[in-house]
Every structure is written in C-alpha cells, then in structure tokens.
C-alpha cells in the first residue's frame, strides 16, 4: 500500500526502461517523424524514446495528432521515421514486418464480406504459406481463444460489431506472432461491449503472454488494460509521461472503482492536460 502511495505522489515520469533485465522487444531511441505537407512540415513524432519488454501491455493515450497511431505504424513498418532508431525483436521494423513478427488490429474489423469468418482468419495463413491442415487447426484454436467457436461458417454481416472485432483479433493471433499492435480496436463499439472485450483481451493476454502495444482514446481503458501507460501530446508528437501501473495482473472490472485505479487515471489526466498546455 505504501509503495502505491509513494508512486502516486511522485511527480517524475517513471523510468522508460522495462522492469525485467531481458532485451526489449520494441526499442525506440530519439525517434523522429516529420511529414512534408503542402502547408509545411508536420512533426508527427519528435524525440520519442521508449523500450517495451516481453509480455508487457503498453497503452498509448493522447489527443488526436499526438503521434500514437503514427508511432504504432512505425513499429509495424508501415511508416518510415525520418530520424532516430527503432528496432523490433532486434530487427529494423521493415524486416520484422517481413518476418511476420507482429499482428496488427485496426479500428475497423476489415473482414472480407465474401469470405466466412474462418476464411477471413485463414487469410494471413494462406499468404504466409501454411499448409491446409495447419490452417484448419490454427483457425479452430484462435476461434476458441476469442470465444467465437462455432461461428467459423458464418459471414461477417451475420456478426455484431463486437464479434467482428473479435474475429479480427483472432486473425491477428493466428500466425503466432509474439507482438500484437492494436490501434483503437474497440473505439467504434459501445461501452458495454467494450468492457466485455476489455476483460476478454486481458484474459487472452494472460493465456498467451504476448507483448501488446495498444492505442486508445479512453483513459479508463488504458488504465484498466496496461502494465504501463504512455501519455503523449501533439504538436510536436512526443511522450509526456510514462506511468508504471501498480495494479495486479489479475484484474476484475470492479478494480476500476478502487483508489489506486482512480489515482493512476488522475495522473494520466494530468499528463494529458500538461501536454495540452504546451501544445
């Protein structure tokens, strides 16, 4: 209890290094990304330094334009930084992408309407060249993980938004990447479904031990899900605060009413306000 209280009073941002001594899974040092637009340069990311260790659940939170999605896309090798270093599993992001080191979940489920749910989950497996039997068993396994067993033969239009998003997560898990990059995956869903999916995601994380980088707009979601919260602010996109969450790994939804939770949420809100004032 005293440890939590001490952390609550601390005004300094927490150490960006992971607690374990092992090599970081994702490592950014002085990362810069400037877009050249017609209206002049846009500093999407400036001097972003962060290390994410194996098995961590790191949330990125901040207002629009703070660079959180851009940072995620840099990790995924979908954007090219203009300065600094970035490695994923020790490799440059583009190589990591080609080595299929991560699964990416977008805000929209993006399922193909002409394929069944099982067919959609098979998509990355087909592209990556797994054989037929392997495909079938993997599809069954991940459908079970996201609790959609028995929905394999249905088409996307027959599923609700929340279920479609779960299928999208299953698709990202199907090829055993040990990193999961999630860009506001529950942003388009209502709060009740969101709560349910948050619980499921935590359970999934506990079962699979993946390293998860999660971008969100929602403070309670960020605090509830993560082991670490990275607060970012815009113009230029930068990290304002990194908060190590003292909450236990095993968290029922009721923990959101606890003092510790509220304290962390308060700190996140302060970090967001500070960033807003500067920007």
């Amino acid at each position: 209890m005293t440890g939590e209280r001490a952390r609550k009073d601390s005004a300094l941002p927490a150490d960006p290094q992971p607690q374990s001594g092992a090599a970081p899974v994702i490592r950014a040092a002085g990362l810069d990304l400037t877009f050249q637009t017609g209206d002049g340069p846009v500093h999407a990311l400036r001097d972003v330094s962060l290390e994410i260790g194996r098995g961590e659940f790191v949330s990125f939170i901040g207002p629009s334009g703070c660079g959180k999605t851009t940072f995620l896309r840099c990790i995924a090798g979908l954007e090219q930084p203009t300065g600094g270093e970035l490695t994923v599993n020790g490799l440059p992001p583009d190589e990591a992408r080609r080595a299929r080191s991560y699964g990416y979940v977008f805000q929209a489920a993006g399922l193909y309407p002409w394929r069944t749910i099982a067919g959609n989950i098979r998509l990355p497996l087909e592209i990556m060249g797994y054989d037929k039997r392997e495909q079938v068993s993997r599809v069954e396994k991940v459908l079970d993980l996201v609790e959609l067993s028995g929905f394999g033969k249905k088409y996307p239009w027959q599923l609700s938004g929340g279920m479609q998003q779960r299928a999208s997560i299953a698709r990202a898990l199907s090829f055993d990447a040990d990193i999961l990059l999630m860009d506001e995956p529950f942003g388009a869903l209502d709060e009740i479904v969101r709560d349910h999916l948050n619980e499921q995601l935590l359970a999934l994380w506990a079962r699979t031990g993946k390293t998860i980088a999660f971008v969100t707009h929602s403070i309670p979601e960020a605090v509830y899900l993560s082991t670490r919260i990275v607060v970012m602010s815009p113009r230029p996109g930068r990290i304002t605060d990194v908060i190590d969450s003292p909450l236990p790994r095993d968290r029922p939804l009721e923990i959101r009413d606890s003092e510790a939770f509220i304290a962390i949420a308060h700190r996140v809100r302060e970090g967001l306000k500070a960033g807003h004032a500067d920007g």
Partner: protein, 290 residues
C-alpha cells in the same frame, strides 16, 4: 416485386393512352383524305374506327402491333423467314458472341490498366475515345475489313460491333472495382508481407465482383444494340435489325414496329437473365441477402 407492379402498370397504361391518342392524330390525315375523295365526311366515331385498323398506318395502334407480334412469334414456324423468333435468334447469336468478347476484352484491359501505370496512361484515353465515335459510321467499315480478311458471314462483324459497345462498361466498372479496396485493407496485407500478385488475387479481384456484375446488365443491353446496329447499314437480310430496315424500306411499318418491340422484349429478357445470374452468384459468394 408486387410493390413494383402497380407503379409500372400505371406507367404502362399511361404510355398506351398516349399511344392511342397519337395513333389517332397521325393516321387521321390519311383517313380524311380518303373520305374527301369519296365525298364523305366521317363522324368522330367513324374516324376513330378507321384510324385504328389501317393496313399501312403511319403509327399502328397498340393492338395492331400486339397482333403482329403474336403472329410473328407464335403464328409462324420457327424456321420461317417471317418468324420473329428466327430473326430474334440470329440477333441473339451476334449479341451473345459480342457480349462474351466484350467481357473478355473489358476485363483483360482493366487488369492491365490496374497492374501497370504505363498501360493506364496509354490505354484509358483510347478506350474513352473509342466510345465517342458513332458506331453507325464504323459499322460498314468493320464489315468491309472483316470480309477482306476472309470472314464469310455477317456474324463476325456484328459480333465485333457488339463487343465494341459492350466492352466499355465492363472496363470502367472493373477498373473501379479493382481499385476499390481502401488504404486500411492494403496496409493489412502489407503487415502480412503479401506480394502484389497475392494482393491482386485475394483482395482486388474478389472486391471487384459486385462492380463486374453491375456492369453486365449495361453491357448486355449495349451488346444487343451493337448487334442490331450491325445489321442496319450492312445489307443484312436476317436478324431483328434487318427486319426493321426491310419494314421501313418497303413501306411496311407493321413489320418495322413488330421487330422493334421484339428487340425490346429480347433486351428485357437478357437483362432479367443477367440479373438472375447475378443474384445466384452473389448468394454463392456470401453476400447479405438484400
């Protein structure tokens, strides 16, 4: 479908009413002329009766056309040169060949244009320009060329003209469909490390199917128009276009009108068939039932 029936029926009845009025107005001059020669002055009722039953009316009344149609379709042997079914079948052959050629050509060009920026810049402008040339002017040239190259019948040039008109809607729709996937979908495949070929086969091609089927209805109608146009300036003696020409040349408006309506009925049947095929394939590909 029943909901659509009443409005359509209302429009059909309105058209028939206008038609009857127009038939009366247009045929009246001849009736009055004949009557003046015989020194008679027919009353309104007699005028109406006379205008509705002329042998060589300027504008045959609906029931006259209907009777001629019935006779041409059911009243003649299918092999007879006066049978609308016979002529319809000739035109249908050219239409189907043109339709098939148009689809193959349209799809092939679309794939080329989407896969290669160079092809896009080179081919698209010419495809558009090709449609601005009046086909009626082009038709005789195509016939002469195909004859010079040794084609025996008129089927080849007719099919070419039909394909010429039907490839463009297929091309435009396919290009739109193949480029329809958005940035997020393309990003997703990038995260899987997919090759360009895989992106094409697994994303672009299936995504273009709805656009493809939508264009087929337009293409089949365009193909029919092409087949008929192909029969007009080329001295054809068989086919619905040829019948229309013969009817107008020999002063037999009934033949012309009957052939016209037969062509319209054929078009409706073809579009209906393509629509049914589309619904069947959509269901097989898992689309949401409308």
């Amino acid at each position: 479908m029943m909901r659509n029936l009443l409005p359509v029926l209302t429009v059909v009845l309105a058209i028939l009413a206008i038609w009857y009025l127009a038939a009366f107005a247009m045929n009246r001059a001849w009736v009055m002329d004949q009557a003046a020669r015989a020194g008679e002055t027919p009353g309104l009722a007699q005028q109406i009766a006379a205008t509705m039953n002329q042998d060589r009316a300027r504008l045959p009344a609906p029931h006259q056309v209907a009777a001629e149609l019935y006779d041409g379709i059911f009243g003649k042997k299918i092999t007879s040169k006066r049978s609308l079914v016979y002529h319809g079948f000739i035109t249908l052959q050219a239409t189907m060949w043109g339709f098939a050629l148009g689809i193959v050509f349209g799809v092939a060009l679309a794939v080329l244009i989407v896969l290669s920026r160079v092809a896009d810049l080179m081919l698209m402008p010419w495809a558009i320009i090709s449609q601005t040339i009046p086909v009626v002017a082009l038709a005789p040239m195509i016939v002469v060329l195909t004859n010079a190259m040794g084609a025996g019948s008129l089927m080849v040039p007719k099919a070419i003209i039909a394909a010429y008109l039907s490839f463009f809607p297929v091309l435009v729709s396919m290009v739109k469909g193949l480029t329809s996937p958005d940035a997020m979908q393309l990003d997703l495949l990038r995260t899987y490390g997919a090759t360009r070929g895989q992106v094409f086969r697994k994303l672009r091609l299936p995504a273009s199917m709805p656009y493809f089927f939508a264009s087929l209805k337009i293409a089949v109608a365009a193909s029919l128009v092409g087949a008929i146009v192909g029969e007009l300036p080329t001295g054809a003696i068989a086919g619905l276009g040829a019948r229309m020409l013969i009817g107008s040349q020999f002063g037999e408006p009934m033949i012309m009108w009957a052939a016209l309506f037969a062509a319209a009925i054929l078009a409706a049947l073809l579009i209906f068939a393509v629509g049914a095929l589309e619904r069947l394939l959509n269901r097989a590909m898992g689309a949401q039932p409308a």
